[in-house]
Symmetry: D2
Subunit: 343 residues, 4 copies
Amino acid sequence: MVKVGIVGATGYTGAELLRILSRHPEIRVEMITSRAEAGRKVSELYPSLRHIAEQEFVAPDAEALRALDVVFFATPHGVAQAMMSEIAQGDTVVIDLSADFRIRDQEVWEHWYNQPHGAPNLIKKAVYGLPEVNRESLKSANLIACPGCYPTSIQLALKPLLERKLIETTGIIANAASGVTGAGRSASVATLFTEVNDSFKAYGVSGHRHLPEIKQGLADIAGESVDLTFVPHLVPMSRGILATVYVKLKDQTQNLQAIYESSYHNEAFVDVLPSGVQPETRSVKGSNVCRIGVSLTPNPEVVVVTAAIDNLCKGAAGQAVQCMNIRLGLSEQLGLELPALMP
Amino acid sequence: MVKVGIVGATGYTGAELLRILSRHPEIRVEMITSRAEAGRKVSELYPSLRHIAEQEFVAPDAEALRALDVVFFATPHGVAQAMMSEIAQGDTVVIDLSADFRIRDQEVWEHWYNQPHGAPNLIKKAVYGLPEVNRESLKSANLIACPGCYPTSIQLALKPLLERKLIETTGIIANAASGVTGAGRSASVATLFTEVNDSFKAYGVSGHRHLPEIKQGLADIAGESVDLTFVPHLVPMSRGILATVYVKLKDQTQNLQAIYESSYHNEAFVDVLPSGVQPETRSVKGSNVCRIGVSLTPNPEVVVVTAAIDNLCKGAAGQAVQCMNIRLGLSEQLGLELPALMP
Amino acid sequence: MVKVGIVGATGYTGAELLRILSRHPEIRVEMITSRAEAGRKVSELYPSLRHIAEQEFVAPDAEALRALDVVFFATPHGVAQAMMSEIAQGDTVVIDLSADFRIRDQEVWEHWYNQPHGAPNLIKKAVYGLPEVNRESLKSANLIACPGCYPTSIQLALKPLLERKLIETTGIIANAASGVTGAGRSASVATLFTEVNDSFKAYGVSGHRHLPEIKQGLADIAGESVDLTFVPHLVPMSRGILATVYVKLKDQTQNLQAIYESSYHNEAFVDVLPSGVQPETRSVKGSNVCRIGVSLTPNPEVVVVTAAIDNLCKGAAGQAVQCMNIRLGLSEQLGLELPALMP
Amino acid sequence: MVKVGIVGATGYTGAELLRILSRHPEIRVEMITSRAEAGRKVSELYPSLRHIAEQEFVAPDAEALRALDVVFFATPHGVAQAMMSEIAQGDTVVIDLSADFRIRDQEVWEHWYNQPHGAPNLIKKAVYGLPEVNRESLKSANLIACPGCYPTSIQLALKPLLERKLIETTGIIANAASGVTGAGRSASVATLFTEVNDSFKAYGVSGHRHLPEIKQGLADIAGESVDLTFVPHLVPMSRGILATVYVKLKDQTQNLQAIYESSYHNEAFVDVLPSGVQPETRSVKGSNVCRIGVSLTPNPEVVVVTAAIDNLCKGAAGQAVQCMNIRLGLSEQLGLELPALMP
């Protein structure tokens, strides 16, 4: 059995990791850390995990973590950086779900996260954990930087078009909307039920931290720089992201539906919907699948690609487990055959 | 007192008309029609109106309607067309909340609504009921075609930019999202609570009936043709529309915040938010106000304008009453001083 | 114009007071206090109040408050007690929406609120602000203790039965459910959207602070002590309370529907629904009305009374304004003709 | 592999059966019937099942169904009765999720369902499918009548008390609340998002079809007749039932927490929460677990038991699979190790 630890498991992505790993046949979760909740049972915070994950939180301890095969960081940005040099010494595979190692340009990271990077020498070591793009590199990565939720949906939406150079690489619009788990489990007025329920709004219009990550990822796929405008929105729902991406075709003669279908034909976790069908976020709730719809619009130059994921699963914990499976040489789908809960 | 009738008041826009008119000091609702519910009290369907609107539905009768001062049509498209020639003979002011007379080009209407127009000779007589654009014409209109909910939000979002010719008139993206009342009150699987709750999706991507209306309205404002891509989404909330509109500046030196503020300075029902503040739909729930935010983005060429309205109020019934007030020479705000219900 | 102040207007009941008073023809809100938000505009927290309540919060000041005609306390318990002796000296009418003066027995208060009472000498001076029970006393009260939201719904549900001595006064079950605004606007994990959405639970089963208030109020109505079991629940909705009250008849021959209708015939804010119709909370959202349904059950001894209110309106701010109107000799409905927002 | 058919799989319980059975290692779903949707793929209605249940609906055919090992009926009441005599001839195990065979007294059934029973001779053959009560009988049952969702929660809440004769068997109050999937997937105005969202109400107060089933079940457990008042409510959530049950103790000296814990110690799908903890419906969403809280109240005679289930899972499809596992001699938990999806 592979021995696994989770650092910072009080948040929603940590709990989602526990939900998934509890059913993973090759994994044993050995350690769940939380400074604030040390000594408390995980299932007190998440009664859904009673009799499933009965461990107690312990304070994080680098030595103990180094003794494990895989360590997941489900922490706010900055935490993984601070602990990484102590843990990333031996053979332990570190899978970081935070933003700490997603961006290769240290200066860009420091600009958007407004703090010095805590482990700049490790940035190069990190492999960006989007299996549909980086599968080969993940097979030997010892530090995996899992993509953000918005970036996952937008990169998967655009990959078939960008790698075939079918669209303009400037003027792309990525309008996206997220459920409220995206904001985490910290007490705050802005995400109270009473502030979010029965309402809808945009946020981060003048700049959101996922923007540089998205641009970097799209440029990697396209082989050239890509410019896009990204506006996230908040939806009164628990889980889910929908990206609605507007692109301009360079060539209107292609059969885009066929291109998407063949492009993702071998991907277990990308589902191209039939022509004309729009993905709903509920169709991926609790599942690791990204569902994609490709639509022509009344303007023959403009194509709209919509991509739905569960922000906690394919957008975080599920993708992290997918990366782990690849790294460990396990079947990529192991433990991730999770039908969505609908309705 | 002005004598008013409402045709088709079983739906949500009809009920919203009743909520507003019940408090309007110059109005008496004399007749509420519904073929299906004739003989039943309105308040049986809408207990919120008990002791407020205690009338019974009656079957529609053209002669009786002609005897009224103002008749509102809150019916599906096609109904107003069929009855209009009988009613629009005398001095009765007809205010149609449906799509029947919004589009001036008969062929375009017939294409998008997939049926022959029922009163083509009256199309020219209709004045498009967006007061912030057409106030003067409304003062003498006897047939007022109230805008659709999406078109209202998008036209108000773009008016200051288009009439000053500050933006490109092609390549505009209008990404919009609506609460479920936009789909009406008919029994249907697609809008069951269990099909909509805790989810988000796009729809009508390949073409939505509001598109030709939006293009016509924007062209009227701009004085030239305008091309935009419009994608609506469904939000799990009862009321509200948010339009997120992406435009490309022709001139980046302008102070857009000041332009919006001065442009709407005299408008009672358009509220330009302080720079950097995003409108939430809940801030206009039950109110006739459209709140607008203007935001620069990391790309200096691209500006995002967000506009929030209550689809049933400024997007339908409230705007209809605003038009009525203008037509009757009353204060434009009469009966419409409705603070939003928040939270 | 009556000069009014609101102490602690950052919370939802304070904002609801502002929504109502902004349309009240005889009132001018002169002072809105908040220690934490002093200097900030109310409409920054509540954009729904832009151009409606443009005042700034100021720090509370007893002298300035004493100069007003009416002061509302929309504060957590303990605050009104601490400030009351300074304010309740002259002619200022104080209307306290908190729990500070609801319970006449000082010891009981101190037991349930777990702190010494801050103004025990004023407890006797306070009149319990349930107009349907205490209208006469309210006409001359200078300190009005507005009922809690649950107690309002349960007392109105039971009044006709208790004052006619038609039911057993022991064994009453009051099962109630509230929207999340009942928990206030403080940052807390338990009331995050993500902790409340799409779920339902009971709380406070072993004892809730509204229990002694309910028992006191029912005993006042019945003229004898009343025993009941009260279990509140949390509903994923913003506003609303539904009390489902189970009682045992002493006499099964009475026409309960007729009794309720005649009992509340003259009450503007209590609406007895037709036999067999159940009140929905949405039918009172934003309104000061309590809607009541009286139902026989398959067991001829057991009757179920359901009562729906808006917890922020008839359960708090609306009732406070109703009390103010009574105290000032104004029409009881002034400023409270608010049709519910449905849907 | 066990060959299984599902009759009427267009509804939510049918889809939930497919979600569960798709991961069940001993089962192959051979036939999914729907008269209305014959020829259409299941995954067109439920995109969550794409690549998981790719079968097409076929018209129901008795002969083909008889050739299967297990047939589930996920149909409205009346359907199973009409087809049963043709199917229940051979060795096929029939598991009926509808109400057709739940009630042993034919007259009572006909009274509440207002139609003649379609297969009265088979009523006696049916075994009531509540494993925690009837496990032994289920091992050899060829016609299993799965309990309703409300009855499941209420019987599990009361079993430990009734079988030990610790409470009065009259005057029990079962106040229950359900998510909207309980109303099924048929087009209807009453369950539109816009009619249910952000609201709460009671229904069926004067009598609900689950009442006779609950009484029969409780009497079976108690060994004597039991009288209770049952009032269901509708919660704006997709899945979940919470029963809040009020009982009167005959003996106040017992340690009820210990009794519940020992009573359910061996039950994989009943989880007794620690003393003082209330179950939330979200903690069982998508899982087959019933979570129970036992609470003393300020009145030492009155105890409140709260029980939460997922109405589609333990209240329908999950329980049906649990019964199937028992009947087939498989591990009772096979295919049902489903952690709840929270949040």
